[in-house]
Amino acid sequence: MKRVAVIGSGNVGANAAFFIAEKGFADVTLTDILEGVSKGKALDIMEGAPIRAYRSRVRGADSQREIEGCDVVVLAAGAVRKPATKREDLFEQNSGTVKEASAIVARYAPGCSVVVVTEPVDLNTALFISESGMPRKRVLGVGGILGSTRLRYAVARDLGLSVENVQALVFGRHGEEMLAPARFTSVSGIPVLRLMNEERFQSLVREVKDAGDFIVEMAKRSSAYYAPSAAIAELADALCRDTRRVLSVSTLLAGEYGIEGAAMSIPAVVGERGILKFLLPALNRDENELLERSAEELKSLLSRRGV
């Protein structure tokens, strides 16, 4: 049995453990710096195991050293957004957590794959790679996959069709600057613009861009965590079982789309050894320019923190 270690047992980390147990593809070690939290949540999950027939064992550990020997590390520690704050505001607050975690992962689980979800995800993915010295193809940020699942849902709901028939691809920087060209969304193979007009589609893209803010505003004391946790579980599944799923993941770019030194989401095939290959569908000039602009800003934010 593969093992996934989750650093940070808040809503995102604990629900990722929950979804992994429901799927049953790996054991989970939950950790947190707050003593007892991970043990309490792990016990709560396991007490449902007889009813839910779990194959996975979920356990909590107070020490991050317990990640030793795991196959996948999920980095879900750090502060989440509060109403009327920006994603990037969290970088200052969370970069310390990410640096600490990267040192621990490099020391205790150097051969693992890493899923970064701590916000701002694109910046922390780049920071983690730079701090840990791990290969870029083993460190994957939950960005585009979350935008994609939200867009799939929005399209399915709008058309009144089943969600599993909808494929969608979201690229680029997580948040306002995400890129979702309509030609990368389809329903049972049929391009979405044959089923709705461009304006309608763009209104759904708008909804997805606003989804994170909307949930923060509504939930008041937390940010979104169900869909993010589902995205983590899907990535962890691909990494543990070598499913070779086509997923949009935040990755440190090294020349893809002419960009270097910033992490953003692009479609990739994900398997046991991390990113197996990038799929690089052609972008038009406007789209590529948007990616370049996002990259410049991300790079300047990174350099301010010495990355």
Binding site: A53, S148, G160, L161, S162, E164, N165, Q167, A168, L169, R183, F184, T185, S186, V187, S188, G189, I190, P191, R194, L195, A238, T243, R244, R245, V246, L247, S248, P267, V269, L276, L279, P281, A282
Partner: protein, 308 residues
Amino acid sequence: MSKISVIGAGNVGATAVYYIAEKNLGDIVMIDVVQGLPQSKGLDFLHAAPLREYRVHIYGTNGYDEIRGSDAVVLTAGIARKPGMDRMDLLRTNAGIAREAAKAVKEYAPDAVIVVVTNPLDVIAMAVLRETGFDPSRVLGMAGVLDATRYCTFIAETLDVWPGDVSAMVLGGHGDTMVPLKRFASVGGIPLGELLDEKTTERLIERTRSGGAEIVGYLKTGSAFYAPAASVAAMVEAIVKDRKTLLPAAAFLRGEYGFSGIFLGVPVILGKGGVERILELELTGDEREALARSARAVRQGIRELDSL
């Protein structure tokens, strides 16, 4: 709990029951004319229920009255075409079986949606529609889902990606007369044309067309049943769970795509009412022509049915 009846307890029928049970889609009745066959398979499934955690009941019987109140009926009964067999003989035998089944559905499950699998399915679907007098939205044939899943499998294999991330739409008849729509296939949202060259795609389409024959070639005395049964289960799920799933199926056309009065493979939205909508796509000249060829083959089949 929904109720699903599967008529014909051969390989396709029994394997469809397996997938339906694994997904706990509803209580299942298996019907076959062979004494003891559906009973034995039904019991065998039930013996696996504790291990597989089935929450549905499975029952095998020779009596058509047991389909009473079914939400969905799958018609798989019939003979397979053997080497040297005249196609009229095949049609005569299978149309007879289908009519008998259709009569029973009309009597005992007048609200059911019928999924026809028995070949030649576009023609058998017509026989079933006539016999039941059902609204045409509640009779449809399984073929496109099978062609599409084979096509997706070959694409996934070629690109070395998860098959579930590939989706494709096909039109027209099954196998030889299938009309694959190159523009309407994608991988994780990426149009197929971005990932595969024309020549490779053509090769995969060709393999899809002869997908059934490839399996027969290996088996010699049998034909495919796992993928066909999985296709049936996907359609049954769309119906009993009212999923509003967009998939290709043989539906009765009334002017769509320029054809009337025949069953032809088209994209449909499938839900508890059966075919809830037929989606009309703009086709290229070549695609329209290929679809017309499929339609001619179906009309020929119907003429044969009428001449029996």
